[in-house]
């Protein structure tokens, strides 16, 4: 069991999302950065869809009441165990009685804490993700708070073997980090002004020529009115060639829509299922993890990618994750 001594800014239990219920208006929820979440799970021997804990900007303080195999992936929120810094993107064996803390946010803005076995919360509509607004799923349907105690589920053979390996080198220390980590070509480097690849949206052609050019050339800033539902951006105003009303239709993770005030909104994990604003673009799935790590004040640039290229990049990324899975198993031979 682990318990929270401090909750952090927004700490919630999430998995890859709730699918199959969007037709009823039930949003998917789920992690913002799927790559970091999946990797953190794989690094402790979990299935990639196990529930992890998503931490935002200011991390929590977590007490370990038992030995646990963990990994932390995503943004660097300066994790430390009993005062000693620990590294991201690798398995760590944490001993009973230790305390995990987070400090300054050095890069990105969200980190994922995976624990071997996965966080033990019930499935609600086939998912463990917290749907904050409807108060369902995750841990009691809400963000984690002081005093919350989380159980983890029984571990599998892979996790058990990792724990064995790490126990050998831990000695009397409070924790033991693996001497290997994920290859750096898999996880993104969180640049100052990232270039995010975007496909033209379904209503792209309705925007004025000037807006079309601006969208793919000027930087936009993430405003403080940004959350898990969507990022509101500030920058050059975008407008349609002529005002027109459209009917609401489905939106997707990474859809960029433009309300009549001209400021684009990027829809993210807690997006509504449908929307009625014109869609100027759609972020390529492979670049969503980069987008999800941006915080208010950060700048972003959009560069055009064809629809086929985006799909090609996606298939390539999935192959790399497969290779990571096999690589981890090889380590344990």
């Amino acid at each position: 069991m682990i318990s929270l001594t401090k909750p952090g800014l927004l700490t919630s239990v999430q998995d890859l999302g709730r699918y199959g219920f969007q037709k009823y208006g039930v949003i998917t929820s789920g992690v913002m950065d799927q790559l970091a979440h999946r990797t953190s799970n794989l690094l402790v021997g979990n299935e990639e869809n196990e529930a992890t804990i998503e931490l935002t900007l200011l991390g929590p303080v977590i007490d370990f009441e038992e030995d646990k195999l963990i990994s932390i992936c995503g943004g660097n929120l300066s994790p430390s165990i009993n005062g000693e810094p620990v590294r991201l993107w690798r398995p760590i064996l944490v001993k009973e009685g230790s305390q995990l803390r987070f400090g300054q946010c050095i890069s990105g803005c969200r980190a994922y804490l995976a624990i071997a076995g996965g966080i033990g919360v019930p499935n609600v509509m086939d998912s463990k993700s917290t749907y904050l607004r409807a108060g369902l799923g995750g841990f009691k349907g809400r963000a984690l708070n002081v005093g919350d105690k989380l159980e983890t589920k029984p571990i599998n053979d892979v996790s058990a073997r990792m724990i064995d390996e790490l126990s050998k080198c831990s000695g009397d220390e409070n924790f033991a980090e693996a001497d290997w980590s994920v290859a750096s070509d898999l996880f993104p480097s969180y640049e100052k002004i990232p270039s995010i690849r975007v496909m033209k949206g379904r209503q792209y052609h309705l925007f004025s020529k000037e807006s079309q050019d601006t969208f793919f050339s000027q930087p936009f800033e993430i405003t403080p009115q940004s959350d898990r539902m969507g990022y509101r951006l500030k920058g050059p105003s975008l407008s349609l060639e002529e005002a027109s009303e459209m009917l609401s239709e489905a939106v997707n993770f990474g859809t960029i829509q433009v309300p009549s005030d001209g400021n684009p909104i990027v829809l993210l994990a807690d997006r509504q299922t449908t929307g009625g604003y014109p869609k100027i673009g759609q972020i390529a799935t492979v670049d969503l993890p980069l987008m999800a790590q941006l915080k208010p004040g950060d700048l972003v640039r959009f560069v055009e990618v064809s629809h086929e290229e985006a799909q090609h990049l996606y298939l390539e990324r999935e192959m790399k994750i497969q290779q990571l899975m096999q690589g981890i198993l090889l380590k344990l031979r």
């Binding site: 699918y19 037709k23 208006g25 859809t255 509504q272 449908t274 759609q282």
Partner: protein, 234 residues
Amino acid sequence: MHPLGDNAVIIEVGEEMNIESQKNVEILCSFFDTQPFDWIIEYIPAFTTVAVFYDPVKIQKKHKSDFLKFPYDYACDALNKILVELQLNETTEPRIVEIPVCYGGELGPDIEHVASYNGITTKEVMDIHSKGDYLVHMIGFAPGFPYIGGMSDKIATPRRTSPRLKIPAGTVGIAGKQTGVYPIETPGGWQLIGRTPIKLFLPNEATPSLLKAGDKIKFTPISNERYKELEEEG
């Protein structure tokens, strides 16, 4: 057919929001409910479209021989075949769902505003609202939230200038020419004219939404006492 990113496609089955488009959406949804393809993750119906979310990796693995085809093209081809086979523009009888509403009072604090805005009495607001012929065009925006068409212009009222922070679940409201029922507590600028004790969002049911696109709605006025009874029955 139009891509919605690298893992979804929007199928357009009509140009305007009308009963024909709605029927076509419904026929397509019933077909997808039979889970015809394992590469389809889920779908989202709207007024004139159905968006299909698919797994490009599954398509690629299944059809290695078609390596020249992108998963998107494969998905479109398969869906196009279906559109040809399905008998769109066929009509079926809609389901009628009765929604009891306690109008006015504490549960509908804006009914007087709606009445005075339209120069009628609150009783007339209730009569006009409960006698309307309503069609659920789609579910979206919030879990189980119906986009309802068919409200009379005689009770149309603009949204409040400053939204309320909390509108309780079950509240029946008017915003412009639309009427709707809130399935969960949310902020909003709608004019609140009443409340229903029945639940539109059923998180523990296999079908978590009381309503579905294509349903007809009948709002039935009930008294405050009846409201409380029904609320206690759950």
